[in-house]
């Protein structure tokens, strides 16, 4: 399978703290990579670096074989290809749901309005929110907002999707409705990098698991092996912190 994203030996520092040191990671087309690790280990920072929301001090990141240059004028063209959904949904509050979905395709891609609307309605229907098309974000529950945020990212036809703890801010009963959407995207072969604390979901969605701790990737591999037969003590300890027995 062809490689979409290639992270080569990147290091990220804030003044005196090193968030990660020479991390490398490759994502192939259609692959679902799930990243886990203790709080503060740099999972969000890694996703933000991919999207150039953070700069890196060393190494390089390639998308489709082209180096992402954070200072380049074409940065917005690179970001178009990378869909990102954050923990805090961040829908645009002054726009209706439909307008939220159509803004970027119309303004960034200069897409056809009719086509865009048709697609937006189809996707809304798919996540069960067609009836909310004319509502404002404020009128939606957290789970509904997050489903809209996922659709908003899909509207740009990204080659890869980055999800950063998208259920962390949700009430427990809304977690599933959002993760079901992500699972269905996984099944249809979307390329995704997912950061989550939901281990059950990780196991169900992941083609490959990555465990980050202490500024490096400690262990990575096939989901089944990762959970059932962890190789390192650190991962074993980390996984144990999620079970109650």
């Amino acid at each position: 399978m062809e490689t979409i994203l290639e992270i080569k030996n990147i290091s990220k520092r804030y003044d005196d703290i090193t968030v990660f040191e020479k991390i490398s990671l490759t994502v192939k087309r259609g692959e679902v990579v799930v990243i886990v690790g203790p709080s503060g280990c740099g999972k969000s920072t890694l996703l933000r670096c991919i999207n150039s929301l953070e700069d890196i001090q060393e190494g390089e990141i390639l998308l489709d074989g082209v180096v992402i240059n954070p200072t380049s004028k074409d940065l917005s063209q690179v970001r178009e290809k990378i869909g990102m959904v954050f923990q805090s949904y961040d829908l645009f509050p002054h726009l209706t749901i439909l307008q939220n979905l159509m803004l970027a395709p119309l303004k960034v891609k200069k897409a056809d309005k009719k086509e865009t609307k048709k697609e937006a309605l189809e996707l809304l229907d798919r996540v069960g929110l067609l009836s909310k098309k004319d509502s404002y974000p404020r009128q939606l529950s957290g789970g509904q907002k997050q489903r809209v945020a996922i659709v908003r990212a899909l509207m740009m036809h990204p080659e890869i999707l980055l999800f950063d703890e998208i259920t962390a801010a949700l009430d427990p009963e809304m977690v599933k409705e959002v993760l079901d959407v992500v699972l269905s995207l996984a099944r249809e072969g979307r390329t995704m990098v997912i950061v989550t604390h939901e281990m059950q979901f990780a196991r169900a969605a992941a083609d490959r698991m990555v465990f980050i701790d202490g500024a490096t990737i400690v262990e990575e591999g096939d989901a089944k092996e990762f959970f059932d037969d962890p190789k390192t003590d650190r991962l074993r300890k980390f996984l144990r912190s999620f079970s109650y027995d």
Partner: protein, 219 residues
């Protein structure tokens, strides 16, 4: 109350009303334009301009309109810059209002969360598109209550115009009371005309506020 007196005064009040309304609204439009420019200068931390803008805001927010008008009307002619009273009124109101509008709009701009901007950038919007389609409209929705309150405040401040002998509502009432002593009629008409001027703004304001409430953050 004497209806005869009221009938006699009415044309004078109408004229004063039109003058007050015109000067007031020109001042408010000016205030809005100044407010936006000043808020941008401060929000974007434009070098030098943002400093000037901050000084302007503090200066005009912390001095009474009356003092500002006296300055423009009586002091400027001394350095050879004489301006007609009506222009003085509008400019004075614009300068005072600009400092209030700037604060309202700036706090709207600052209220848009960074994460909101990041998710727009992540969708591929350029910085300019981000501002045009996301930050600015969002900030304006947030600022609406402050802007409406400022408009009402500024319309009421027009009552100070009489001090620079502008024949506004207040001036007309004072003048008539001084001349004929029909105090009740003169004051009732004054109140009625102020209400005619302010009530529509107040009602329209709350309708707009209700409509944009859904479009602001939170919830």
């Amino acid at each position: 109350m004497n209806p005869e007196v009221i009938r006699e005064y009415l044309p004078l009040y109408k004229e004063a009303f039109i003058l007050t309304l015109r000067t007031g609204w020109i001042g408010i439009l000016l205030a809005f334009a100044i407010g936006i420019l000043v808020a941008f200068a401060i929000h974007f931390r434009v070098p030098v301009l943002s400093k000037i803008a901050s000084v302007y805001v503090e200066l005009f927010r912390n001095t009474p309109l009356l003092v500002q008008l006296f300055f423009i009307y009586f002091a400027l002619p001394k350095i050879g810059l004489s301006i007609p009273a009506e222009t003085c009124g509008a400019v004075g109101l614009g300068l005072l209002g600009g400092s209030y509008m700037a604060e309202g709009i700036r706090s709207g701009l600052d209220a848009v969360p960074v994460s909101q901007e990041e998710s727009a950038l992540a969708l591929g919007l350029t910085k300019r598109q981000l501002f045009t389609y996301v930050v600015f409209p969002e900030a304006m929705s947030i600022s609406i209550p402050a802007i409406v309150a400022n408009v009402i405040f500024l319309l009421k401040e027009t009552s100070v115009f009489s001090a620079i002998s502008l024949m506004d509502l207040m001036f007309t009432a004072k003048d008539l009371i001084g001349l004929y002593y029909d105090t009740t009629e003169a004051l009732v008409l004054l109140v009625v005309f102020y209400i005619i001027m302010l009530l529509p703004v107040s009602i329209l304001g709350s309708i707009i506020e209700k409509r944009v409430r859904l479009r602001t953050l939170g919830g």
